[in-house]
């Protein structure tokens, strides 16, 4: 990345030396918000984006605490979905075990905060340590996977096995011998009682219970993550990732070390899964081995596949939509919810392989194109 940036720099310096058109570096980075790898560009899209953000921002004023907390709960999952979107949609490597990182970071947050408390903003330190733990595990696991050059399907089943074994391991930690410091892992019942995220403030700490302050914090994080990932996938690194997804052999012949790029994407995506784990644990002060089991592992796949894995915006919107539908279903007929999920997955794969959200965008574009084509033809006929 630095290589290209420096080359660009010298080209700019020699080509249009001192010219007014040469852009300031942060501005160049910001320009990557738009690019070939993401849908939506131009003033119309960004005005829409600001309007949506504003609507999401004022929404708590017109709602009750429970609903706002619940929406914050939806937000906690979006990071894992966006991470999987990078790994699967952009890098073309399907990982089934993102919940392993979710669980690892969640448990790390629990153990750390139960031992060291929440004073002096330590909960945010625990958040960072939890995410770092996931990044480290992803680096280690990804090294064996990508540097072994295993093919797509194997990656899926090895990562799935990791999360299932991790679940089995945590499920048997019920005994009193499984304690880390003063934190009991508590087996299948899970850990509880860790403090929520706590902001140190001048006149006492602000404890972020699942309510309006936490909502704004998570909303900010979602926006920062979304924009950051847009820049990431439109950068040189992201373009190479897409090239690898489209044709690994060609990318390799062009001189890219595809293992390094895929490992990079895996670490980024898994850290985001870890972030989801920490935020989920902090949101409900609760984490159980169930969140790493087969069904939990299926959920991110459903969100990303149904939303549209090849685009960040589609994934984000799709994830929130599926989460909302799933919760509504669970309220009205909990046992059928999983059947509907499975059917949704099947229908998406069979009939809208690019995802439902992207499928709708395609359909709209197609009918818009037809409409304009007809108008143009009619116009010609009149003339």
């Amino acid at each position: 990345m630095s290589d290209l940036a420096s080359r660009e720099g010298t080209a700019g310096a020699t080509g249009r030396a001192g010219g007014a058109r040469r852009r300031w570096r942060p501005l160049r980075t910001l320009a990557r918000l738009n690019g070939p790898q993401t849908l939506g560009r131009g003033p119309a899209f960004w005005i829409g984006f600001v309007v949506v953000c504003a609507l999401v921002g004022i929404y708590p004023l017109f709602s009750d605490g429970w609903t706002v907390g619940n929406t914050a709960y939806f937000f906690t999952w979006t990071f894992m979905a966006m991470g999987l979107c990078v790994i699967w949609g952009y890098a073309g490597a399907l990982s089934f075990g993102q919940t392993a990182f979710f669980g690892l970071s969640g448990y790390a947050y629990g153990v750390l905060t139960l031992n060291f408390g929440s004073a002096y903003g330590f909960t945010f330190g625990a958040l960072l340590i939890g995410v770092a733990a996931s990044a480290l595990l992803a680096l280690l696991l990804g090294y064996f996977l990508f540097y072994g050059r295993i093919s797509g399907v194997f990656l899926g089943i090895v990562t799935l096995s990791v999360t299932l074994v991790f679940e089995t391991f945590m499920a048997q930690t019920a005994g009193p011998e499984w304690t880390v410091g003063s934190a009991r892992l508590n087996g299948f019942n899970g850990m509880t009682g860790m403090p929520p995220l706590t902001l140190p403030w001048f006149d006492g700490d602000i404890v972020l219970w699942p309510d309006i302050p936490l909502y704004y914090l998570l909303m900010g994080l979602v926006i920062v993550c979304y924009l950051g990932l847009r820049i990431f996938v439109n950068s040189r690194f992201g373009n190479v990732l897409v090239a690898i997804r489209e044709n690994p052999d060609r990318a390799e012949t062009l001189g890219y070390d595809i293992r390094r790029y895929q490992l990079g994407a895996f670490v980024v995506g898994s850290s985001l899964a870890g972030l989801s784990g920490v935020l989920y644990t902090a949101w409900g002060q609760y984490i159980t081995p169930n969140s790493m089991g087969l069904y939990a592992a299926a959920l991110p796949i459903v969100w990303v596949a149904v939303g549209g894995r090849s685009d960040l915006t589609a994934t984000l919107v799709g994830t929130l939509a599926v989460l909302w539908v799933f919760q509504t279903l669970t309220i009205y007929g909990s046992q059928y919810a999983l059947v509907v999920m499975g059917a949704l997955l099947l229908v998406t794969v069979l009939f809208a392989p690019r995802g439902l959200a992207l499928g709708l965008v395609d359909l709209a574009g197609w009918s818009w194109g037809r409409l304009r084509g007809r108008k143009a033809r009619n116009g010609q006929g009149d003339a």
Binding site: F144, G148, G152, S161, L294, I301, Y336, M341, L350
Partner: protein, 288 residues
Amino acid sequence: MLEGLFAFLFQFGDAFAFLVLSASGLAIIFGMMGVINLAHGEFIMCGAYVTVTAAHAGLPLPLAIACGSLAAGIIGIALERAIINRLFDRPLDTIVATWGISLIATQGTLILLGSTMPGVGTPLGSFEMGSYSFSEYRVVLMVIAVAMMGGLYLLFHRTRYGILARATIQVPHMASALGVNTKVMHSLTFGLGAALAGLAGGLYAPTMTLVPTMGTAFIVESFVTVVVGGADVFLGTAPAAVVLAFIKAGMTSLYGQLFGLIGLLLTVIVVIRIMPRGLSGWLLRGRE
């Protein structure tokens, strides 16, 4: 000492039988079609449920197991016709689709048949060796595992179906040009894999609790065996099962069941780094 050794050997044989029986269906579908069937555990569950239902209806156990296997095979063929054959050129989507099937099957069974089903007791008795006692049924399972590998070898090398199926995976277009109906071959192969999964379910049904999620008890072991083994059933799955059974039995007798599983997982992660195409890819490395 001698009885300790025998106990270890028994545990090894037990682990070997479990790995071979639970993985062979998955391995055949993967090796022959390149499809990873994430609904594998649900075919096992289906075999177990049908077996137990048939046994409760009065059929003798071997016949009931055959029914279970057959039912899983028929469902497998139907699913292949309806869904899998539309996704051949998209391997990652096949995983996702079979996972969708798995979700529907597990939850559907839970809704229709409830959270558990009364089982049948483990048949046959047990025998004593020194201070240990061993189940005879487990010995039968070991024999069946070995016999099944032999039977599959004969099936793929001595019958018309086997030769056509191997031709279909080697050069599909050529096989098709020579008049092999490759679609039927794919359906039959998927059905065979599903039937083997059902057989595993039927064989282990008497030893387990019947719950809709029982497939997950098999899934990690069978994945690990297939990844370590690679694409060939005979040169891959069988030797992989030997190696993994040794590790599993060793870790289990030293540290307990869970560490047997963790040992398997660590083995697979190291193996893919050294032999990305599994044992069979490594054994056959000069031949392609």
